[in-house]
């Protein structure tokens, strides 16, 4: 009999679970007979590491490429450039064939309804993936019941129901249970709570934190809600127009954001205190078109501290942390690079 259990840890705890290098995805624009009309540069040169057992969050405005990153990592779309290593092995190589990789990485989407087959009962929905991978029917159903228990839905009550008989929060729990059915090591959560009410959101977030502990999971958590990210994440990647603007430990980023975009984003959070209302919006305007991103730093068109250097060349991620808590805190901003020619940078060096 086949055992579908969590695969062993090969590289040891120090080996990042996922390493992505130079990841890029361009969606060509359809322009008919007369040649190509350029491409949507959805992700454009992204390096990424997800450590074992951590929750890495990706934040950024709509259209900045968060979902594209997750679809690239899931292998749902082929990358234009770049490669992905999983536990030290190149995905798609002989050591880690795509099928084996896809079993170890699962995904939960925002739209809880669209991602469930309306004609399968809850039990069948959850038992289906392990059966496809060769688990016997009885074992698969047994596992489905255990998972329903784990996500807080009584199997006796829910196993036979169909998706339309459930609330949004309950459906999202089913999606999570289904993602767990193959005992994956990495779960990609693409806006898992964005469509839920606040009280239900809290239930699902609590559940996700419990399951992580229980099943030894690693999360890639995509969200545009900074409060949620602050609550769940260990590290945060801030994306802007297909590129990384800043990455680092959550506390360090929330306490001392390095990139002006991160500062704007953080200041855009609702204050929860009516006596401390703000008067001016921290960020103005919309992100530029990803077909023709502005030259230089992509944020320079909206940046409050932009200088000529910013539109001349593109900054790369560089370490900005000086304390132990800020280890691994990097930002891509010329104002933080000594000698870059940005007036704020030279002052810092002196």
């Amino acid at each position: 009999m086949l055992h579908i259990d969590q695969p062993e840890d090969r590289g040891g705890p120090a080996q990042p679970l996922v390493i992505a290098r130079g990841l890029a995805k361009y969606f060509p624009l359809k322009r008919g007979l007369f040649g190509s009309g350029g491409a949507v540069k959805a992700v454009d040169g992204l390096d990424l590491e997800i450590k074992k057992g951590e929750t890495l969050a990706i934040v950024g405005e709509s259209g900045c490429g968060k979902s594209t990153v997750s679809r690239l990592l899931m292998g749902l779309i082929p990358p234009t450039a770049g490669e992905v290593l999983f536990d030290g092995e190149l995905v798609g190589s002989a050591a880690l064939p795509a099928k084996e990789y896809l079993r170890q990485v699962q995904m939960v989407f925002q739209d809880s309804y669209a991602s469930l087959n309306p004609r399968l009962s809850i039990e069948e929905s959850i038992a289906f993936p392990p059966m496809v991978h060769g688990l016997g029917r009885t074992e698969a159903v047994e596992r489905a019941h255990d998972l329903l228990d784990a996500v807080g839905l009584a199997p006796g009550l829910f196993a036979g129901r169909y998706p339309h008989e459930l609330s949004g929060g309950q459906r999202q729990r089913i999606n999570i249970a289904r993602a767990l059915a193959l005992r994956p090591r990495l779960i990609i959560l693409d806006e898992p709570v964005s469509a839920l009410d606040k009280s239900v959101e809290a239930q699902v977030l609590n559940l996700l934190m419990d399951l992580k502990e229980q099943f030894g999971l690693t999360y890639l958590f995509i969200s545009h809600d900074l409060n949620v990210v602050h609550h769940v994440a260990d590290r945060v990647l801030v994306m802007y127009l297909g590129r990384a603007a800043e990455i680092g430990p959550v506390e360090s980023i929330f306490a001392a954001p390095g990139h002006p975009y991160t500062r704007g984003l953080l200041a855009s959070r609702l204050s929860m205190d009516p006596t401390k209302r703000r008067k001016t919006p921290p960020l103005t305007g919309d992100p530029p078109n990803p077909v023709n991103p502005p030259p230089g730093c992509r944020f320079n068109t909206r940046c409050p501290i932009a200088e000529p250097v910013c539109s001349n060349s593109q900054p790369n991620l560089a370490a900005i942390g000086h304390t132990i808590h800020a280890l691994g805190h990097e930002a891509a901003c010329w104002a933080l690079v000594p000698g870059s020619g940005h007036s704020l940078a030279t002052r810092k060096v002196a």
Binding site: K198, Q203, H230, G264
Partner: protein
């Protein structure tokens, strides 16, 4: 009656022919320049209440009862013509999804001018000039060009600004907003919220703002009404309500909202699910989910209690005596 009263609702009820009791006795007043936020979960009846104020629920499928007056005019009994004269110059509305709430085959400019021309006797040219001013008022960059743009040519944030411009086109005294920022990014959301508040103050409008996000209410509201299963279960000034909610449901909602201080802590949750609106339990609709519930809660609907002037909650555990309330606050 005071003449700055924009809305007067007493025991307002909306029922659908499908058997859904969406709004089950709502009482409130709204004065000029006042911003009321209706806060509640999905399905609690926020949108139906808002649409009822303009009588925009599907006419053949809706049964409306109780008292509802807009600026002293009876909305429940008014003819369709009288209603349509009110819509625009007295009251107008902004919706959640600016993409689907705008007609895709008409330009933004046309959608503004047609409203002006409907209600005011002015020339097309003047209407267009006014449309341009409106786009500038809502801070749409290169407004002149945007007049001839179609909705799909604008980003989500700009579309919502255009929607606001349309709603403002006849200088309404009362602006209704149904989750106008839910579909937007946080950075755009705050822009729109600030814009709405600024315009509301500048034009001296009354505003009713529907949201499911306490944080959003905190940014715009003067008063908050918490809605549950078609009733206002608590109402009060925004700062007081957010600092110390009275009703167990409002407390639960506050505890479940992820905010800056919640990292590392377990979020409190509200067990159970909202009731079926086709078959509401007698008594307090929240009782089946309430940790403080007792037999009396289910016996009959709790009355509104007023522990301090200006605050009210529908819960038998809220003390009616102002003194006792003060003591609890102090402890």
């Amino acid at each position: 009656m005071r003449d700055d009263l924009l809305v007067l609702a007493r025991d307002l009820r909306v029922k659908f022919t499908t058997g859904v009791n969406a709004v089950n006795g709502v009482d409130f007043d709204l004065r000029q320049r006042e911003v009321l936020c209706i806060l509640g979960e999905s399905g609690s009846g926020k949108s139906v209440t808002l649409r009822a104020l303009m009588r925009l629920n599907p006419p053949t499928k809706t049964i409306m009862s109780g008292t509802l007056e807009l600026g002293g005019r009876d909305v429940v009994q008014a003819s369709e013509n009288e209603m349509s004269d009110l819509r625009g110059p007295f009251v107008s509305m902004i919706f959640q999804e600016p993409m689907t709430a705008l007609d895709p085959v008409f330009t933004i400019g046309r959608q503004i001018t047609e409203t002006i021309l409907r209600h005011e006797n002015i020339s097309r040219r003047k209407a267009r000039r006014r449309a341009l001013e409106l786009l500038e008022l809502v801070q749409i960059p290169s407004a002149k060009r945007r007049l001839d743009a179609y909705p799909h040519e604008l980003s989500g944030g700009l579309r919502q600004r255009a929607m606001i411009a349309i709603a403002l086109s006849c200088r309404p005294k009362l602006l209704l907003a149904d989750e106008p920022t839910t579909a937007l990014d946080a950075s755009v959301q705050i822009q729109i919220l600030l814009l709405l508040r600024e315009i509301q103050q500048e034009l001296g409008m009354g505003m009713i703002f529907v949201t499911h996000d306490l944080g959003v209410a905190g940014e715009v509201a003067d008063r908050i009404a918490v809605m549950y299963a078609g009733r206002f279960i608590e109402e009060g000034p925004v700062a007081d309500l957010m600092r110390q909610p009275l009703h167990p449901y409002a407390k639960g909602l506050l505890g479940a909202t992820v905010h800056e201080g919640s990292r590392g802590k377990r979020l409190t949750t509200i067990p159970g699910a909202p009731p079926d609106l086709r078959d509401l339990p007698g008594g307090c609709a929240f009782a089946p989910r309430c940790t403080e519930a007792e037999g009396a809660c289910l016996a009959h609907l709790p009355e509104l209690r007023t522990p301090v002037p200006d605050r009210a909650a529908r819960c038998i555990h809220v003390d009616d005596r102002p003194a006792a309330f003060g003591e609890r606050l102090a402890s």
